[in-house]
């Protein structure tokens, strides 16, 4: 009844149960946080706008400023933030093209202002980008130390690409 094996087993089971419970509680506690992030994005320049291999391609310079500090809780490992261009074309009901992304490892670095060229190619499936109206969406995925992942976004509307290639 009270052999070494039984005690070791009971101890192991108990500690694993407590650990699982603490992990679950840490994940649930994330729901108590109601973040209020803010962001502002500006397209400062269209560097290049051409047709390459039959598809429209844009290179642009972006000014991104955001304050995502309120996303961080004690269970947050990192926040993955990215900026995506979203538009509709005759062929596709939705095109999402990631332009820039970053990993924010700590709350101190969650307020930033950067100027950057698009990190990934802004390429259409076809040639629909001339004069195209598009949204820029700042999206973030909160990666927890343990438990459920969260995601949300800020949509910024009213951007328009030039009418002519350059």
């Amino acid at each position: 009844m009270h052999s070494f094996g039984f005690r070791a087993n009971a101890l192991l089971t108990f500690s694993l149960t407590i650990l699982a419970l603490i992990c679950a509680m840490a994940s649930i506690s994330d729901n108590l946080n109601s973040p209020s992030p803010s962001a502002h994005v500006q397209v400062s320049n269209i560097n290049r706008f051409q047709k390459s291999k039959g598809n429209d391609e844009v290179s642009m310079t972006l000014n991104v400023s955001a304050n995502l500090q309120s996303l961080f809780t004690w269970n947050t490992k990192q926040v993955f933030v990215f900026l995506a261009a979203e538009y509709e074309s005759p062929k596709n009901s939705l095109n999402q093209v990631s332009l820039w992304d970053a990993i924010i490892p700590s709350k101190e670095q969650a307020q930033f202002l950067i100027q950057t060229k698009n990190k990934y190619r802004f390429t259409d499936q076809g040639t629909n980008l001339r004069g195209k109206e598009y949204n820029l969406t700042l999206r973030w995925h909160v990666m927890p130390k343990t438990g459920k992942m969260f995601a949300d976004k800020i949509v910024m509307t009213g951007f328009r690409l030039p009418e002519e290639y350059r």
């Binding site: 094996g5 992990c23 994940s27 490992k77 990192q78 993955f80 990215f82 995506a84 005759p90 062929k91 596709n92 009901s93 939705l94 095109n95 999402q96 093209v97 990631s98 992304d101 990993i103 490892p105 990934y120 499936q125 999206r139 995925h141 990666m143 927890p144 130390k145 343990t146 438990g147 459920k148 992942m149 995601a151």
Partner: protein
């Protein structure tokens, strides 16, 4: 001499009963594990509801040995989501982030491009030869939850099979020899 024979008989039948009950309890453990796994498959809609991260391509978010919980819903796939996909001709599924989505106007078809957070380029070199986009059927699920370190158990067991056999043997012995 009759009472000795009776005693032996009763001990014998006791042993058989005990053996049977141990066999049943062992069977119960195996089947309940199977039920939990299949039940998870039903709830999450994914054919593998839990995956272990095997490479560092999503660091610092996911490290080798972390566990991801998958969910496969009818919801459309969107940029930024972490998906698990199978490439034709590759056995091991890959866990990476979606960076581009092109969703067709009239059909359900969708073109998806992925990239590992820790990789410099996108995943096209990982795809099958000449493949530019992932389609819906390549995707096994999207990651919804995360548990660190637990996956090391399976990594150690697949890389050092002897530990697996030792563990199974010890557990089996424990079940058979334990009373009650």
């Amino acid at each position: 001499m009759g009472w000795i024979g009776e005693a032996v008989d009763s001990v014998e039948s006791l042993r058989i009963r005990q053996f049977l009950s141990q066999a049943v309890s062992l069977g119960m453990i195996v089947t309940s594990a199977l039920i939990i796994w299949k039940g998870l498959m039903c709830v999450t809609g994914s054919e593998s509801p839990v995956v272990v991260v095997l490479t560092g391509s999503m660091e610092p978010g996911f490290k080798r040995g972390d566990i991801l919980f998958l969910h496969m819903s009818k919801d459309p796939i969107r940029a930024g989501e972490i998906v698990v996909f199978n490439v034709d001709g590759r056995e091991i599924p890959i866990v990476h982030r979606v960076i581009k989505v092109h969703e067709r106007q009239d059909t359900e078809d969708v073109d998806v491009l992925t990239k590992g957070d820790n990789n410099t380029g996108d995943d096209r070199p990982l795809y099958a030869h000449g493949q530019l986009w992932l389609q819906r059927h390549h995707i096994m699920g999207r990651a919804v939850g995360f548990l660190p370190y637990v996956g090391w158990v399976t990594i150690i067991m697949t890389e050092k099979p002897i530990i697996k056999y030792l563990l199974i043997g010890a557990l089996g012995l424990l079940v058979i020899t334990s009373k009650e």
